[in-house]
Each structure stands twice: as C-alpha cells, then as structure tokens.
C-alpha cells in the first residue's frame, strides 16, 4: 500500500503470517498421509469382503465403496494437496513482495536522508 505522507512508500509489512501458513500446509499434507494410510488397509479389506459377498446389500455397498474410492477420496486428496501447494506459493510470493517493498523503502530512505 503506497503511503501518501512524508514517509517511506510501504510503511506496513505485507499481511501474511508465515508460521500459520506453514502449519496449515503441513496439516493439509498430514491429512493426505492419514487418508492414504487408512485407505491402504481399508481398500484391500473392502475388496476382500466383496469377493464372496453377493446380493442386494453387496450391490449397495459396492456402489458406495466405489464412489468413495474412485471419486470422493481422490477428489479430496487433490483439493488438499492443491491448497497445500497454493499456500506454499503464497508464502513465497509474500516473501518476494516484502523484499520488493523493503527495497522501495530503502531507496526512499536513501533519497530522503
């Protein structure tokens, strides 16, 4: 934000909490790890259950199970990973923007000793 008074052009720091951002990105990736860990056991067990399971209840479960494994879980994992990356990118962008502001402030100080 440009300053219209007599001070440096960017007196306020860029509003971005790197610690919270890092915690959020880590939590998103940890959630993905937990989902994958859970599915690595549940999917084989579900498939084993379906090998000999026949009848309308089996059909009902197969539809739910397949939807969960082929749509809901991969979609959620994609979203979680995409946002983890987006937060990392934002963190890098905030750092770059802050550096840019710092340089502009420094130039102003040199021009206005």
């Amino acid at each position: 934000m440009l300053h219209d008074g007599g001070g440096p052009p960017f007196p306020d720091p860029v509003r971005f909490d790197h610690q919270l951002a890092s915690a959020a990105a880590t939590a998103l990736r940890d959630a993905v790890t937990k989902i994958r860990d859970a599915m690595s056991t549940d999917v084989p067990l579900g498939r084993t259950a379906l090998v000999n399971w026949r009848g309308p209840f089996a059909d009902q479960f197969r539809a739910t199970f397949d939807d969960q494994q082929q749509r809901a879980v991969p979609q959620l994992i994609d979203d979680l990973l995409a946002w983890a990356k987006r937060i990392d990118d934002a963190s890098a962008a905030a750092t770059a923007l802050q550096a840019q502001h710092d340089r502009a402030n420094q130039r102003w100080r040199e021009d206005n000793p």
């Binding site: 860029v14 509003r15 971005f16 909490d17 919270l20 951002a21 915690a23 959020a24 880590t26 939590a27 998103l28 940890d30 959630a31 790890t33 937990k34 989902i35 860990d37 859970a38 056991t41 549940d42 067990l45 579900g46 084993t48 259950a49 090998v51 000999n52 399971w53 026949r54 009848g55 309308p56 209840f57 089996a58 479960f61 739910t64 199970f65 969960q68 809901a72 879980v73 959620l76 979203d79 979680l80 946002w83 987006r86 937060i87 934002a90 962008a93 905030a94 923007l97």
Partner: protein, 371 residues
C-alpha cells in the same frame, strides 16, 4: 426382496472394525485441520496473495462421518449373516428376506451395546466419585475441615482438634460429615491411621494401591474394581461374537494388545490421580499449617473426571486405537529385528520412528483444539 445373498461374515466384520477405527481417526484429523485453517483465515492474509482457504477440514469430517455410517452398516450385515447360520464359519448363503429381517432385528440392542462398549473403557472418574462421596471419603472430610476439624502435627504426634463431640446434631448430613472423623484424638506420626495424610510418598502409594491392588480392601470399597470391570468387560465384548472386533476373536494379537493398552492407561491414570491427590494434600497442608482432609481426594477426582471425558471423546478413542496399533507395530518390529538382523531392523525402525513422529506432530494441535 426375494433371492439369495451370500458372504463370508468374518470378511465383512474385519472391514467394518478397521474402517470404523480409521474413520474415527480421520474425523479427528478433519476437526484439527478445520482449526488450523480457521487460524490461517483468521489472520486475514493479503487477499491478492492468498484468498480464503475453503473449509477442507469440514470436507474431511463429512467423508469420515459417511465412512463411519457405511462401515458400521457393513458390520451389521456381517452379524446378520452370522445370525442366520449360527455356528457356521466361512461362506454363508441365506435368503434376502431372512437377511433383511435379521438386519432390522439386530440393529437395536447390539448397536447400543457396541456404542456402550466404545465409551465404557477407561472411565476412571467412577472410582474417584465413589472415593469422594462415600462415608469417610473426600467430601465429608473436607466438610469436616470447614467445620473446624483439624489434624495438627506436634512433637511426633498428630493431634485431632476441633469439632470433637459427636452427635451434637443428629441430622443425616451431620452424621455424614462425622464419618470423616478419626476415632481417636492423638496418633503417632508414623501410625497407619494418619501417615498417608502427613507424608506425600505414603499418601501416593496408598492412593495408588486403592486403585490397582485387589488384595487391598479399599480397592473394593472405593469402587476401583468397577473401573477395571467396565474396561476389561468392554474389551471382552469387543472381541466376542457381537463386538466390533468379532472377526479377530480372543486368540488375536489385537485382543491381547487392547488389554495391555487399557491396563497401561488405567494404571497411568490412577498413578497421576494418586500423585495429584497426595500432592494437593501436601500442598494444602503446607499452606494451612494442618492437613486439609479431602482436598487430595477432590484433586484426584478432577484428574479422574478429566481423563474419563478425554478417553470418551473422539480424540481419546483415536489415541487409544493408535496405541493398540502402535503396540502391534512394536511387536512386529521386535519380531522383525530378531528374524532379519540388526541392520534391516534399524532401517525399518527409521521409517517407524518417522511415522510415530508424524502421528504425534499431527496429534498435538488436535488435542489442543479439543481441550
């Protein structure tokens, strides 16, 4: 609904038990993620750099909730198959109508029992409530202290002072408070009647023994046995033909590990409660210049209630599941180390340690959030 259905019930029950455990864990992760993302959004990062992060924790929680419902239902179908052919193991074929009728019938009491068994374990608040409320327990002792009853140390003796005359009021409440009084007025400092009040170490061991030692009469009087009976009873139910872990059975490693983990949780809770109890007694004794009977028991009650509520919460149940699974991994690791040699085991241990680190790293914010 005519026609036939078939299945191997043990396969359905195995999927159901594992699936529900995992779904509960994912629910906890979802709640923790919600808290972390809320904190980030709450810091209002520059929108041009990072827009508001969507409620992905809620999405995970919704997935976990749906998964619990599905996995629980699969377990009920497995039990319905079992019920139609009692005593048969392996593949079972039955009429769809029979199965549907069994499924409808079995959903009531058994589901209630399974829900009950999940929260009955590690309810260590019960013994502390009994120890607090019973005649001679923490509450009447504290009320007696408020009425002026004091145990004061003097010249190697403990003197009981104040409110010495019994039956000055014969109301039920008065008689209840009087149960806290020691029968005499002067005791040797090292006497068994008063030493647990005066000495931290003796107080701790006495409280600990009350909770874990069946040979101690106070174990039965104080209600600790109820806590153990509920815990072990729920474990036995879980691995019986009707429980969440029916497919694993009593001969399984999971059953042994559940008993071991619950024994550890019980002993640790009773130990911490005994520490709080003896510590509070010593601290108040030092602060008031005389023993404040009952305060220790009330401190133990607070710890017992706290642990009880925590263990009944989704986080507590998740922690317990992870401990049982972790114990299984540790046993596998030990077996692996012996059979394949030190180098292989060291490599494997590295990855296990990494997993454990990830687990604890992920648990800390969740526990903080729930508390």
């Amino acid at each position: 609904m005519s026609g036939l259905s078939s299945a191997i019930p043990a396969d359905l029950l195995a999927y159901s038990a594992r699936g529900m455990d995992h779904a509960a864990g994912l629910g906890v992760v979802g709640k923790g993620l919600t808290a972390t993302l809320d904190a980030l959004n709450g810091s209002r990062p520059e929108p041009s750099i990072l827009p508001r992060v969507p409620a992905l924790g809620d999405d995970l929680l919704r997935l976990a909730t749906a998964k619990v419902d599905t996995d629980q239902w699969v377990g009920r179908v497995g039990l319905a198959f079992q019920a139609t052919n009692a005593g048969t193991t392996g593949l079972i074929a039955t009429g769809n109508d029979t199965l549907a009728a069994e499924l409808g019938k079995g959903s009531g009491i058994l589901d209630d029992l399974r829900s009950w068994s999940r929260v009955a374990k590690n309810q260590w608040w019960f013994p502390t409530v009994v120890a607090t409320l019973q005649p001679g327990g923490g509450l009447p002792s504290f009320l007696a202290w408020l009425k002026g009853y004091r145990l004061v140390e003097k010249d190697g003796y403990v003197i009981a002072k104040g409110w010495r005359y019994v039956f000055d009021d014969s109301s039920i409440f008065q008689r209840y408070i009087q149960t806290a009084r020691l029968p005499g007025t002067r005791y040797r400092l090292d006497g068994t009647e008063v030493r647990p009040f005066m000495d931290f170490e003796t107080g701790f061991w006495r409280n600990f023994s009350d909770g874990i030692n069946p040979a101690d009469a106070r174990f039965w009087k104080g209600g600790a046995w109820v806590g153990w009976a509920l815990t072990y009873g729920a474990d036995v139910f879980d691995y019986s033909s009707w429980g969440d872990h029916a497919s694993e059975g009593f001969a399984s490693k999971g059953f042994v590990n559940s008993l071991a983990v619950d024994t550890g949780i019980g002993a640790a809770t009773i130990g911490v409660s005994a520490l709080a109890s003896a510590g509070a007694a010593a601290a108040t004794g030092a602060a008031f210049g005389s023993v404040v009977p009952g305060v220790g028991t009330l401190a133990g009650l607070a710890v017992g209630l706290g642990v009880g509520f925590f263990m009944a919460s989704p986080v507590g149940q998740h922690v317990r599941t992870e401990l049982v699974d972790g114990l299984g991994s540790a046993e596998d690791w030990a077996g692996h180390a012996i059979s394949t040699g030190y180098d292989d085991a060291k490599h494997w241990a590295g990855s296990e340690l990494h997993n454990a680190e990830s687990f604890f790293t992920s648990m800390v914010p969740h526990i903080g959030f729930h508390l």
